[in-house]
Amino acid sequence: MHDKTLAQLSDDLAARRVSSVELTEHYLQRIDQHDKELNSFITITRESALEQAAAADKRIKAGETSPLTGIPIAHKDIFCTDNVKTTCGSKMLDNFVSPYDATVVARLAEAGAVMLGKTNMDEFAMGSSNETSYYGVVRNPWDKEKVPGGSSGGSAAAVAARIACAATGTDTGGSIRQPAALSGITGFKPTYGRVSRYGMIAFASSLDQAGTLTQTAEDGAILLQAMAGDDERDSTALPDPVPDYGAAMRSPWEKISIGVPENFFDDGLDDASAVAIREGLAIFEKLGATIKDVRLEHIHLSVPVYYVVAPAEASSNLARFDGVRFGHRAEDVDDLTEFYMRTRGEGFGSEVKRRILTGTYVLSAGYFDAYYLQAQKVRQLISDDFERAFSDVDVLVGPTTPTPAFGIGQKMDDPIQMYLNDIYTIGANLAGLPGVSIPCGFSGGLPVGMQLVGKQLNEAELFKAAYYFQQETDWHEQVPAGYE
């Protein structure tokens, strides 16, 4: 059953070839079997999953179905789930039971999806390898000595290993697309604001966006359809109507124009990956797309801009973790300042601390203009570059990451090397653009991801391009050995 896509399982459920309870039990059994070594889940919600599955079966029987009714999925542990532990991968929230559901969680439950559990992630989504999690590293199903990418590494590994049918994720600088690429699956980050951020624990509010990790673009479209849309609890949610992604995706192919950012193929890119991407571009060409080079003048500055803006926002967003209303609390401290310092010093891991300190630094008096304000200005330049490119082409296509999955521990001691892993993905976050990473080949036996970036609110076009690509290729059907 687990070798099928979400779309196929949805058909099977609707045709009652399988029940949701059977399907859920199957996935729970697979989690039991495989997750000890993968460590992709922080919490498994076995009982409530089976209850939800039984309820889904009733709905299916009554004919009240949506494409997600009865489908077992996993949520990144950044989404608040009512009455379920929500940790954000941090010791700080090890004892936190959310009293409410994130909008994403509520909408997917409403659509009848079954939650298998909460997936592992880099602490507060700060990381590109899933190694900063308080709950330990997640292993890449393709090579257990390698990282699955991050921060949505648990979601990516679970979908890649087919121990969840699909999963939610969040993407602040590449945290959906990068692990999708490294784990050989499809990862979709919508336009900023397309999916409500309510109940998604904030890392960098002007960059964070929820999205999907699935086997195929088609599955991503089904999942996003239920997640997207306005939310009166999120001031930055987009009120624009959500188009029918599935219908748009299957509509007849029209000639599109693809831009290839030439500077994405500089020295930093792994050779075999470059070959895989070029071959992927050839498939689009075969489909009738025109390919042209574009230049994103300031894109090389996206990493420094990101490492000012994201830590600045994070330093403020994470100030609420003070041991007073929830979360970890230092014991036996009489002095208030010492109480805060110890609580936060004990509750946060070292990467989170580094980013809080960086953010505090770039916002502090005397440095604000030189760092924060300057970063905002360069952010504008980067955004303008994208706009200029999109005046000429419909979609930008290039690599998702410079290299395939790297070794566990390989970059932990060098944050700059780790940060540069997101060099191709950060631009879309800075400009608020939708992006998707799809499998397009292998490099040294490890999956390579190809990234497509579109104009704001052009999700449908991205889904369509990815869908047609996946009609022509079978990279997305490859399953890591041992998880077939």
């Binding site: 959310s98 999120d234 001031s235 403020s316 973790f321 929830f326 916002l363 008096a365």
Partner: protein, 479 residues
């Protein structure tokens, strides 16, 4: 050495919305601890703010009433600092682009002169919770019910030159927010609070002296006293050869002194930046014009109208319009009255009524005499039914719970005797009984007339119309 005092006020006024500025929790005062602190107010992981429309409208109304420019685009920023009553570790406020700026407000000084005070800006922000220090050993208890209550921070230019001016300005702002209906102005409940920036400089010196900030002055009297004492302190320091340190000081009303809050405020660096959870607030011209047309009559306009329509002195009009409720009561009384002139009513409102309210510590909205009854009372004075003295008796009776003016007059037989026949009879009797004093009058002692008036009034049990008594006495004595 002649010193000049320079003061600017930052007034925090809670806006009278039903719900909080960024959440749907109630703003009601006095609820049990933390019963009105929802997930957004508590800064729970994942929650987001959404702006209350009413709070924006109220801020714009204030801006329109003070001639401010209304920003077409204003931005919320985060002010970052750690404090237990601040759940998110930052306060959502406005920094570079406040909702309104560049206005002014006229105040009337003790001398009667009008002075224009500049309003630098007024911006929207959220209130913090409260720390309670009693009850717990070495710990404080935090109640976050107040967290997220909308505040309008009104910042004046440093145009105030004395504690008294600061007091007048603060009262004027208080009056204005009540007029506009944007705040209940309740100072006991903390709805209207003030910080003062105070500095002194030698007269003629163009540069401002180093200022100190006096925190949380929550009554008109404290503002004046705290500034007074701080001015003295600053002058003493400078005259002793010392220097003023820029710092925050707390006013201790028990000791009547200000003391430094240093240590707590160590190196505050608020790291303001635009709140990425909120987008720019854009207000259309149409919305502004709608709010402008909905503005009520404001204190200065009302004062002019009271002068022209009711023939009141500028002083009387000023007193009556200082508080909207007083003005409303006065106007209701005038409207209900028949022949009683507004001036007579004004005297009663500012005299007897104000004294009674003061004695019972009541607001005019809780006056124990309705406007309609005060109207009747003044009508009865005007038509001669009641003397001023009797009228006071009737007023007190009603204040103490009796029914109506006419019922009190009837029940106590307080009706003034204005029947000249009856008064003539009383006068004749008194003159007959006191031949000695009649002779004194005839010998040229005019003062003795008072003696006769007193006797006649006594004989009438105070009910004779004193004017008529006087007149008839003179006629008879001069016969």
């Amino acid at each position: 050495m002649v010193w000049e005092v320079v003061i600017g006020l930052e007034i925090h006024t809670q806006l009278a919305t039903e719900s909080k500025i960024f959440s749907g929790a109630s703003t009601r005062y006095g609820a049990p601890p933390n019963s009105q602190a929802c997930l957004v107010d508590l800064g729970y992981p994942g929650v987001l703010p959404v702006l209350n429309e009413k709070a924006v409208e109220m801020a714009i109304k204030f801006g329109l009433a003070t001639g401010c420019e209304i920003a077409q685009r204003s931005v919320f920023a985060r002010k970052n600092y750690f404090y237990p009553d601040l759940p998110k570790g930052y306060q959502i406020s406005q920094y570079e682009l406040p909702i309104v700026h560049g206005g002014h407000l006229d105040i009337v000084l003790e001398s009667g002169d009008v002075k224009t005070i500049g309003i630098t800006r007024a911006h929207l922000e959220e209130d913090a919770g409260k720390s309670l220090h009693e009850d717990f050993d070495n710990q404080s208890g935090i109640d976050l019910n107040r967290a997220g209550t909308p505040l309008l921070e009104i910042v004046s230019e440093p145009d105030l030159r004395s504690a008294a001016e600061a007091g007048v300005y603060m009262r004027k702002v208080h009056s204005l927010v009540r007029y506009l209906g944007i705040s209940d102005g309740n100072m006991q409940e903390g709805s209207f609070r003030c910080d003062a920036n105070v500095s002194v400089r030698q007269k003629g010196e163009p540069k401002l002296g180093t200022r100190t900030e006096l925190k949380n002055l929550n009554s008109f009297r404290f503002v004046e006293k705290a500034i007074e004492i701080e001015i003295e302190r600053q002058i003493d320091v400078i005259e002793d050869g010392g220097k003023i340190v820029q710092e925050t000081r707390l006013y201790d009303s028990d000791k009547n002194e200000t003391r430094s809050m240093r240590g707590k405020e160590e190196a505050n660096d608020y790291r303001y930046f635009p709140d990425p959870d909120l987008l720019p607030v854009v207000v259309s011209d149409k919305a502004i014009e709608k709010l402008r047309s909905d503005l009520p009559e404001l204190p200065d306009a009302k004062r002019s109208r009271f002068e022209s329509d009711f023939g009141l002195s500028s002083y009387d009009a000023g007193v009556l319009t200082a508080q909207l409720d007083t003005a409303n009561y006065f106007e209701a009384t005038v409207a209900a009255a028949g022949d009683a002139p507004p001036k007579l009513i004004a005297n009663w409102v500012q005299g007897e009524l104000a004294a009674a309210l003061n004695q019972d510590n009541l607001d005019i909205t809780d006056a124990k005499i309705p406007a309609a009854e005060l109207a009747l009372l003044t009508d009865r004075i005007q038509d001669g039914t009641l003397s001023g003295k009797l009228a006071k008796e009737v007023f007190e009776a009603i204040w103490d719970g009796e029914d109506s003016v006419d019922a009190v007059i009837e029940a106590r037989g307080l009706k003034q005797i204005s029947d000249s026949g009856a008064i003539e009879k009383l006068v004749s009797d008194v003159l007959e009984q006191n031949p000695e004093q009649v002779q004194q009058f005839k010998d040229g002692n005019e003062k003795v007339i008072g003696f006769f008036v007193g006797r006649v009034m006594q004989a009438s049990q105070g009910k004779a119309n004193p004017k008529q008594v006087n007149q008839i006495l003179r006629e008879k004595l001069n016969e």
